[in-house]
Amino acid sequence: MDITLQQVSYAYAKNTPFEKRALFNVDLNIPSGSYQAIIGHTGSGKSTVLQHLNALLKPTEGTIKIGQVEVKADKKNKMLREVRQKVGIVFQFPEHQLFDETVLKDIMFGPMNFGVGEEEAKRRAIELVGLLGLPEEVLEKSPFDLSGGQMRRVAIAGVLAMNPEVLVLDEPTAGLDPRGRKEIMDLFHRLHKEKGLTTVLVTHSMEDASRYADRIAIMHKGKCVLEGTPQEIFSDEDRLLDYQLELPQCIKFQKKVEQMMGMKLPSICLTEETLAKELAHLIKKERDE
């Protein structure tokens, strides 16, 4: 399902003294099956864009096309329910949305709201708990008895259980330990690869964006200022600095190495693995000569 933002502007608390414009003419196209990262400094409008992606917010100006549904300021939409089933959002600190008596019921809440039968919802819950690396015993526990990391996983399972076509993630690993971060990010990547799940990742982490995303959009002061592949985005360090962003650690390291050795690697390495490979290659070549 494609999502297209055309000239979207949004103002919070419109027509009150608290009015605050958050988005200015944002254009963004998220094709079906892609992995799109949205990065930007705090307060750049990332989270506001995200809430537009399943029509929780309606643009004050401009249009959003979510699959077949068109969302506009003055248009009443009856199809929003369908949109919300197809676009699952994992909000920041999603564990705050847990409420039910047991983990099982909480995970089943989403799908059952969208008309999935009890048996099917239960089947999905059991499957997802396994997928997210939680022991099956947690299903009968109260979500409030779990640890923070486990709560996070349960909340993510609650969104995945809706079987969305597009998965929108708002800082899904904020506050997790490094190992938990990697596990969860790898899981999302696997889902994206295996099931062709369109993924939108809103993040502060340049590392995550460069490692996982196909395309990156940079938000700055409510505008979408830059859009492209990770290679394109991270080849221009000065521009990133303008937007108060930095290069990912691994590319920084690559630049240092290039500087000290007075040469250039053939391409920008987005992950530690590719960087290591390139360097090994280089060393081997030099040894052979």
Binding site: Y12, N15, P17, I89, F91, Q97, F114
Partner: protein, 265 residues
């Protein structure tokens, strides 16, 4: 959708009303609440309305914003209006349809009560909109200070009030956030049948309670860590200062009361 609510919010500004001492404003509002009950006919209620609009002008708050923010109260006003309209049975009948009879006195009472309600709500909202919650509680603490003699925990009460006022916007934001998260999971409080909406309340309230308790605990810890131990011997960073304009505005109220008493039936 909750961003339109204005209860407990403060709009920074520099109007005459903003500059008044919080104690003056508090006394003003309390006196005004009493004075409103002097009015009993068209002229006096008219004077009240004019007086209220004057104060709105002085506060430089946009009327549209005020009215928009008071929508929830409007329902209450309409409801009381209808009650008076239907159940007051005095004076000549002015309208009759099947079993509904509307009497002149009912219409009049309805309008009067609505004006009274409107004026009171507007004035109290202006109080909270133009005064920071902290100065309101400071003022209250000072005004209630004499009651300490009778062992009333004035400081603790003021503190409780300031904390609850402080947390209204926070909880409001929290509600908005959780509501959106549950909406994304297909549980929508704003659409659907009555039963569906009722069902959508539980997934909203439970997370809200959980986070409110967590916040309370965090706040208590933070206060203890910073050595808070109640009002005994506590000095103030902000000092309230009574100026001439404060005296004038209280006197103005006395004038209003006199005018109302003169014109009332």
């Amino acid at each position: 959708m909750l961003e339109k609510m204005i209860f407990g919010r403060f709009i920074p500004g520099d109007s005459f009303i903003h500059r008044l001492d919080a104690r003056a404003k508090l006394i003003f509002v309390f006196l005004f609440i009493a004075i409103v009950f002097i009015a009993n006919d068209w002229i006096t209620y008219g004077i009240l309305l004019v007086f209220t609009f004057l104060i709105i002008r002085l506060s430089k708050i946009r009327l549209y914003f005020l009215i928009n923010g008071l929508k929830p109260v409007v329902i209450l006003i309409v409801f009381t209006f209808l009650l008076h309209l239907i159940f007051t049975r005095e004076g000549p009948i002015i309208f009759e349809w099947k079993f509904i009879k509307i009497y002149e006195e009912g219409l009049r009472q309805g309008i009067f009560i609505s004006i009274r309600f409107f004026v009171l709500v507007i004035l109290t909202s202006i109080l909270t909109l133009t005064t920071t919650p902290i100065s309101i509680t400071d003022a209250l603490e000072i005004l209630l200070n004499p009651l300490k003699k009778w062992k009333l925990p004035v400081h603790e009460l003021a503190l409780m009030m300031s904390i609850s006022l402080r947390f209204i916007p926070t909880l409001m934001d929290e509600t908005d956030k959780i509501m959106k998260a549950q909406m994304a999971r297909g549980s929508d409080m704003t659409t659907g049948t009555m039963k569906e909406r009722m069902n959508a309340i539980v997934p909203l309230l439970i997370p809200l309670f959980v986070s409110a308790f967590k916040r309370a605990e965090d706040l208590a810890t933070a206060m203890e860590v910073r050595g808070y131990k109640g009002g005994e011997g506590r000095t103030r960073y902000r000092k309230l200062e009574w100026a001439r304009r404060d005296t004038i505005s209280i006197l103005l109220l006395v004038v209003l009361a006199a005018v109302l008493i003169y014109f009332r039936k």
